[in-house]
């Protein structure tokens, strides 16, 4: 059920010129972000880019050095307590007590938010069920797997029914199955309950699958922002790569493909062009057939967010944290 009646949902997240310095280092260097209510915003960047520092400022855990930000309509510097009441957060470390059970964590968190009695019990049971931890709810956290801890972390963030959710690299270290399950739950929260989600990630696929809008941060600055489709369209077109069945046909193949776009890098033995027109692949295949150039392999490569990151920063996202 969407909660459009909730007045807090009139506001998402607004950030203007936000800066955070640590001595001489500007970890976040004047970023601007605008997120509409109910949107999933993917904040993409390598380790050390400023993602977690931004989350800590927006969740009131760290005062900004300059700039301003409002979350759910409240100023993060002036109305810290109101911001905290409106948000849920699963930070980078799954900060759980190994000696407490999942249910005890939820009970503590709910009680500190003033939720008590039957409502608390009903809420805890519902959340444990929603994140698939009903049978594990009474087990100590030290017996949980990484995926179970992440799912409990999400349940803890949701205990007080927040209108805005901050997830700081929520799927780091998870197996593909747990990752997919968490994506589905986050997608459902935004889609069905209208929760605004601020999601930081190092995984391009995660941002691509989940996010309505993506911001790419590097060295504390946002270097690109838009929908995944906009960002990909901005930096280029699809590439088609053909491996001829007969290596002697490579010259003819090059002449044929050059009618559809400019040459681009290809694997040895293959020829590739960046297509001038979207949806030109059928024409390429028809031309190959008409001119009797037999292809051993045809690959269509759509631009990815990694291509966007490469175009904007000159580096690939994977491994760029070391630079």
């Amino acid at each position: 059920m969407r909660r459009e009646s909730n007045s807090l949902l009139q506001n998402g997240i607004e950030v203007e010129g936000l800066v955070r310095s640590f001595k001489d280092i500007r970890a976040v260097d004047g970023i601007d972000i605008s997120i509409e209510p109910g949107q999933i915003y993917g904040f993409l960047g390598p380790n050390g880019a400023g993602k977690s520092t931004t989350v800590h400022m927006l969740t009131t855990l760290l005062p900004p050095s300059a700039g301003r930000a409002t979350v759910a309509g409240y100023d993060v510097q002036r109305d810290g307590a109101k911001v905290r009441a409106a948000i849920g957060a699963a930070l980078q470390d799954t900060a759980l007590d190994p000696f407490l059970s999942g249910r005890e964590h939820l009970r503590l968190q709910a009680s500190l938010h003033g939720i008590r009695g039957d409502r608390r019990k009903e809420l805890i049971d519902r959340l444990l069920g929603r994140v698939g931890l009903t049978s594990a709810g009474d087990r100590k956290i030290r017996t949980y797997s990484g995926g179970m801890k992440r799912r409990l972390d999400l349940a803890l963030a949701l205990i007080h029914d927040p209108s805005t959710l901050f997830l700081d690299e929520p799927t780091t270290g998870l197996d593909p199955q747990s990752r997919t399950a968490l994506w589905e739950e986050v997608g459902r929260l935004a889609r069905d309950e209208g929760v605004t989600v601020f999601l930081t990630t190092q995984y391009l696929e995660e941002a691509d699958v989940l996010a309505d809008r993506v911001g790419i941060i590097d060295h504390g600055r946002i270097v690109a922002e838009g929908t995944p489709a906009q960002l990909k369209a901005e930096i280029g077109k699809a590439t088609v790569e053909v491996v001829p069945e007969n290596p002697d046909d490579r010259e003819r193949l090059a002449g044929l493909l050059s009618r559809f776009g400019g040459e681009t890098a290809a694997r040895p033995g293959a020829y590739a062009v960046q297509l001038d027109a979207a949806g030109a692949l059928p024409d390429v295949i028809r031309a190959l057939d008409q001119e009797d150039v037999r292809a051993a392999e045809i690959n269509l490569h759509q631009p990815t967010l990694d291509d966007v990151f490469l175009a904007k920063t000159g580096r690939k996202l994977e491994g760029s944290e070391d630079e």
């Binding site: 969740t59 009131t60 855990l61 760290l62 005062p63 993060v76 510097q77 002036r78 810290g80 307590a81 911001v83 905290r84 009441a85 948000i87 957060a89 930070l91 980078q92 470390d93 900060a95 759980l96 007590d97 000696f99 407490l100 005890e104 503590l108 968190q109 009680s111 500190l112 938010h113 003033g114 100590k140 803890l156």
Partner: protein
């Protein structure tokens, strides 16, 4: 129950639960002071023959030291637990809830107080079984328990301060040599007037721990000594005030939420 009291209860309950689910944490503070009490009350029994020694039972004289030692162990536990919460990010989790700073600090010493209560009852029971008789009677034993818990809160506050200052369990544990130095340079083994080495007697006289021990001891061997109790409670309340003030100040630095 008002909001702050309820938050203190919630944080303290968690602190007590986690402490008692780690036997390696609570067994040594329970057993080590008892072992030392057994060894010292036998090995130093001859001290009761010194002219002016206030009692014929060295066990009765030494029993309060166990309470002090237990309080120091409890302070370490409170500090190390908080340091672990800082290290794992659990403190940030709490910071994102409406929990008040005061509730966070007082709740965190809950584990120490819980353990302190169990320790105190155990030491008292063992002492009574071993033949110690309270000159101040049952009310005196009760006051002794109250003072022992206040001492645990005071030293627990120091543990919290160190945890918030250093953010590491090692940092908290590094304060132990200093605290144990204070304990051993006190009137734990002899009344101050019977300490013949001048510098030791002077240091013991300057050491607030001496007055805490003497207040506890007075209830066992003297009865109701108003001066000893006033000094003991006074220094203990001062310790609570100073340690909690330091911890509260450091919490604002560590938990810089807006």
């Amino acid at each position: 129950m008002n909001v702050t009291a309820r938050q203190i209860f919630l944080i303290a309950r968690r602190s007590v639960i986690r402490t008692f689910r780690q036997p390696g944490v609570w067994i040594p503070p329970l057993t080590f002071p008892l072992m030392l009490m057994a060894v010292n009350s036998n090995g130093l029994r001859a001290a009761t023959h010194l002219p002016g020694f206030p009692t014929r039972s060295f066990l009765a004289f030494f029993l309060p030291f166990s309470f002090m030692q237990g309080a120091l162990f409890a302070s370490g536990i409170a500090g190390v637990d908080l340091a672990r919460d800082i290290d794992t990010g659990f403190l940030n989790r709490l910071a994102l809830t409406p929990v008040r700073d005061s509730a966070l600090l007082l709740g965190q010493v809950g584990g120490a107080v819980g353990l302190g209560a169990v320790q105190s009852v155990l030491y008292l029971t063992v002492g009574l079984i071993a033949g110690v008789r309270f000159v101040s009677g049952a009310p005196g034993a009760f006051v002794m328990l109250v003072l022992a818990l206040l001492i645990a809160i005071g030293f627990g506050g120091l543990g919290l301060w160190m945890a918030l200052r250093t953010g590491s369990g090692e940092g908290v544990q590094s304060q132990f040599p200093l605290l144990f130095f204070l304990l051993f340079i006190s009137s734990m083994n002899l009344p101050r007037n019977l300490i013949e080495v001048g510098w030791f007697r002077d240091l013991a006289t300057l050491n607030p721990v001496s007055y805490m021990i003497e207040a506890l001891r007075s209830l066992v061997i003297e009865g109701w000594n108003a001066q000893a109790l006033a000094l003991g409670f006074g220094f203990t309340l001062a310790l609570i005030g100073i340690s909690m003030w330091l911890a509260a100040r450091q919490l604002k630095v560590r938990m810089a939420r807006t």
